[in-house]
């Protein structure tokens, strides 16, 4: 494999940063999204309030035995509480009035209907207390099926959610994102350093994460070892797997002079092999660690966090600081950066490059294993957890600048926060898509990443 320093000389033209279709989309979304979220939140608080005040509702809605059709709802906001004495008028779709009622002291109202069909619910805006306004129009059209008690949600704003509800959720997601980003960073430091020192884009790095988590799971659940020693053992396993990778595969391949693209495809093969072997051994299920259910979330004022998440953040920060100190202060750390910067120069100044690369692999394996355990704590242990994380690691590493250790850290943190915060705008189950979109946007705007050097990308 050629070293990055050699390749740097063969540069092509850089991509022009302007005129991309993705850019305006990425910038234009958040403000409009925020409004949507505020509205959603409102409906949510509304729905929750409704559930709290009418506990039997959920059952009644699904119960088909009741012959009569009913429309009901609750008017309340988080600041004002339930709103009393608001006139609610129900008409048919043609405009014939069915009934007009006022909300009771719990803010509830209910109207019996003559039969299934379409109805329009209108509330009198003048009856609302000061500061409370309608989020959307003052009427809603609902379709009532036969025998249903249909709840009607009418969005109200009390002015609090721009500073209150919305931003509290944002802070919560920010903290979640930092936790997730630190976790990605831990796994990605190895990926980035391996790229820096050997030029290999290691698609099998995700499997180091999975193997770490699965090893910890077996030691913890099958072996009955408490989680912390199990994690330490798993990190040893991770380091061993990393070393095995280097000694058994990549060092011989470098010696044979295998091309970088061939090596990349080999790493894909290794990734497939390991991923599906793990599935054969561990199975397709997802299961949690033992003795690590942290139950209740602690309240920290602006956000809540489970103890697990808290320790996860603390561990990641400490470990990443240790890595940084090691890279900055120790002899081996300096050697790593030197090899990553220019391998030939490092070799000619007496650094044992192969030893450094071996150390990078072991460190990368151990960190990936630790990342896997932390990921397993929050999302349970699964056979393809590493592969899914790998793509976010690539996003982070690319954002920070391929080949730089600190770049991986910064980039991963941003990706983690971005992925979690994006759920303010997009549904939770497509949040990874946002991260992957970010990756492509980065490639358009600044392919060398935040801390990367321009010469590497061409």
């Amino acid at each position: 494999m050629t070293h990055a320093g050699n390749r740097a000389r063969r540069h092509g033209r850089r991509s022009g940063p302007t005129g991309s279709p993705q850019r305006p989309r990425g910038r234009g979304r958040p403000p409009s999204g925020h409004r949507v979220v505020v509205r959603l939140l409102l409906v949510l608080t509304f729905g929750l309030g409704l559930a709290a005040f009418a506990p039997g509702l959920a059952h009644a809605e699904t119960e088909e035995t009741e012959a009569t059709e009913v429309l009901n709802g609750t008017l309340q906001t988080s600041l004002s509480g339930p709103i009393e004495d608001v006139q609610v008028e129900v008409t048919t779709a043609d405009g014939d009035e069915i009934d007009s009622v006022e909300t009771d002291e719990n803010g509830r109202w209910s109207v019996d209907l003559p039969g299934p069909g379409q109805y329009v619910v209108t509330i009198d805006e003048g009856d609302l207390p000061d500061g409370v306004t309608l989020a959307a129009g003052d009427s809603r059209t609902v379709t009532v099926d036969e025998g249903r008690r249909q709840a009607v949600l009418i969005g109200l704003t009390d002015g609090s959610r721009n500073s209150g509800g919305g931003s509290v959720r944002a802070v919560q997601l920010l903290v979640d994102g930092i936790r997730f980003g630190l976790l990605i960073a831990m796994a990605a430091v190895g990926l980035s350093l391996i790229f820096g020192t050997t030029g290999l884009t290691n698609f099998a790095h995700g499997e180091l994460v999975t193997i770490g988590a699965v090893a910890a799971w077996y030691i913890n659940v099958q072996g009955g070892v408490p989680l912390i020693p199990a994690t330490l053992l798993a990190m040893l396993v991770g380091a061993a797997v990393g070393a095995l990778n280097e000694l058994g595969l990549w060092r011989p391949l470098r010696r044979r002079g295998t091309g970088l693209i061939a090596a990349l495809v080999v790493s894909i093969g290794l990734s497939l092999l390991l991923r599906y072997l793990v599935q054969v051994v561990y199975g397709g299920r997802s299961s949690p660690f033992q003795g690590a259910q942290s139950g209740r979330a602690q309240d920290y004022g602006l956000f809540t966090m489970t103890d697990n998440d808290f320790y996860s953040i603390v561990i990641s920060v400490v470990v990443l600081l240790l890595v940084a100190v090691m890279l900055q202060r120790t002899k081996i750390g300096k050697a790593m950066r030197a090899v990553s910067d220019n391998r030939d120069l490092a070799a000619s100044s007496g650094i044992d490059v192969n030893r450094v690369i071996l150390f990078v692999w072991m460190m990368g394996g151990a960190l990936a294993a630790l990342g896997g355990v932390l990921l397993g704590l929050s999302d349970q242990v699964q056979w393809d957890m590493g592969f899914r994380l790998l793509l976010l690691m690539f996003a982070g590493v690319t954002l920070g600048g391929l080949g730089t250790a600190y770049g991986a850290l910064v980039g991963s943190l941003i990706v983690g926060v971005f992925v979690q915060m994006s759920t303010l705008v997009i549904p939770n189950d497509v949040k990874y898509v946002g991260g992957l979109l970010l990756l492509i946007v980065i490639l358009v705007i600044r392919p060398q990443g935040i801390l990367g050097s321009r010469a590497r990308v061409g």
């Binding site: 050629t2 390749r7 063969r10 092509g12 033209r13 850089r14 991509s15 991309s20 279709p21 993705q22 030029g199 884009t201 698609f203 391949l253 044979r256 295998t258 091309g259 970088l260 693209i261 061939a262 990349l264 495809v265 080999v266 894909i268 093969g269 290794l270 990734s271 497939l272 092999l273 390991l274 991923r275 599906y276 072997l277 599935q279 054969v280 592969f387 899914r388 793509l391 690539f394 996003a395 690319t398 997009i426 549904p427 189950d429 497509v430 990874y432 898509v433 992957l436 979109l437 990756l439 492509i440 490639l443 358009v444 392919p447 590497r456 990308v457 061409g458």
Partner: protein, 332 residues
């Protein structure tokens, strides 16, 4: 012995069935991109998914005719290739690899998400869109035909026939293109991009054309697969399939017109034979159930592909037909 013959027959059927066509078309596309132009498209399965869902959504959601669906699928693949190529084709090869694999996974997650359910039916996917196509078969599609000890339904035969015609036409197209000046420029881009640029060729445009052409082959493959199974489910389009196609291509020989076709047939034969064989050995008790249960056998094919890819790349990167000098690629 009868078991062995049976396993051979089953494997032979899958080497000729629509799955082999699927991988052959995917691999032909990758051959244009990777074999001739040196582009690493690790998201070929995304093009296939767009092809398959192009038909499925057009027919069963929008009520369009089948052939309009085919056009929609191809168009979607072209658009995806342009979108992917715009930012990445000027960068080093592994950036395209990362971007494409991320896109493939992202698109699959998007297609199976709850918010996409109105269009794609989420994880359950779409079905009943291939009726128009099956009805074109010149023979009775409802009865089964027995060929060399394997049983094919009329529909399967029809899909396989049309599919292999597609494969042959595709191979002819690639053959013609690679003999043309366009193909020679493409191959020289693979060898030395700077040299081509200094001759005044617009490398970026050539690469983009190769990416689009390969993507269209991917979409056609996805269509054959969707029509063959009669359903389009996002989770059928797992990322690992891209690498099955890579394995097929490298096994047959990259940068050879027939490499991907032979490779796909051979790969499917090996995988299906291993599959049937392992199941047989497990049910006969030769392999103890604790070591490997029959539900795990489906996973074994990917393990085999992984090992195969590694061994091929290390020991015989040119595959069966390839030229070693043509495939000793290095990252630019």
């Amino acid at each position: 012995m009868a078991d062995l013959l049976n396993a051979l027959a089953v494997a032979g059927k899958s080497a000729l069935g629509f799955q082999a066509i699927f991988f052959a078309l995917l691999a032909i596309g990758i051959n244009v991109q990777f074999g001739y132009a040196g582009l690493l498209n690790f998201g070929q399965i995304a093009f296939a998914m767009l092809g398959g869902f192009g038909i499925a959504i057009s027919v069963s959601k929008w009520g369009l005719p089948f052939w309009v669906g085919v056009l929609v699928g191809i168009l979607a693949a072209v658009v995806l290739a342009l979108l992917l190529g715009l930012p990445t084709l000027r960068l080093r090869a592994d950036y395209l690899a990362i971007a494409t694999i991320a896109t493939a996974e992202g698109l699959r997650l998007l297609f199976r998400s709850v918010s996409a359910t109105p269009v794609t039916n989420g994880t359950r996917g779409l079905s009943a869109f291939n009726g128009d196509f099956i009805a074109l078969a010149p023979w009775n599609t409802s009865r089964r035909y027995s060929i060399l000890g394997t049983s094919w339904s009329g529909g399967e035969l029809w899909v396989a026939l049309v599919g292999w015609i597609l494969v042959i036409l595709g191979s002819l197209l690639v053959f013609a293109l690679m003999r043309s000046p366009w193909g020679r420029v493409l191959k020289s881009i693979r060898e030395d991009e700077d040299a081509v640029r200094s001759l005044g060729k617009n490398v970026y445009v050539y690469k983009m054309q190769a990416l689009v052409l390969g993507g269209v082959f991917g979409a056609l493959g996805g269509m054959v697969y969707a029509v063959g199974t009669g359903s389009a489910i996002p989770d059928q389009y797992q990322n690992a399939n891209t690498f099955l196609a890579y394995a097929a291509l490298i096994l047959g020989g990259a940068a050879r017109v027939l490499g991907p076709v032979i490779g796909a047939m051979l790969l499917l034969f090996i995988l299906q034979f291993a599959d049937t064989g392992l199941r047989l050995l497990i049910s006969n008790g030769v392999i103890p159930e604790d070591l490997l249960s029959s539900t795990d056998v489906a996973q074994i094919r990917f393990v085999l592909v992984g090992v195969g890819l590694m061994l091929l790349l290390i020991f015989r990167p040119q595959g069966i037909f390839g030229d070693r000098r043509e495939v000793m690629l290095d990252a630019r």
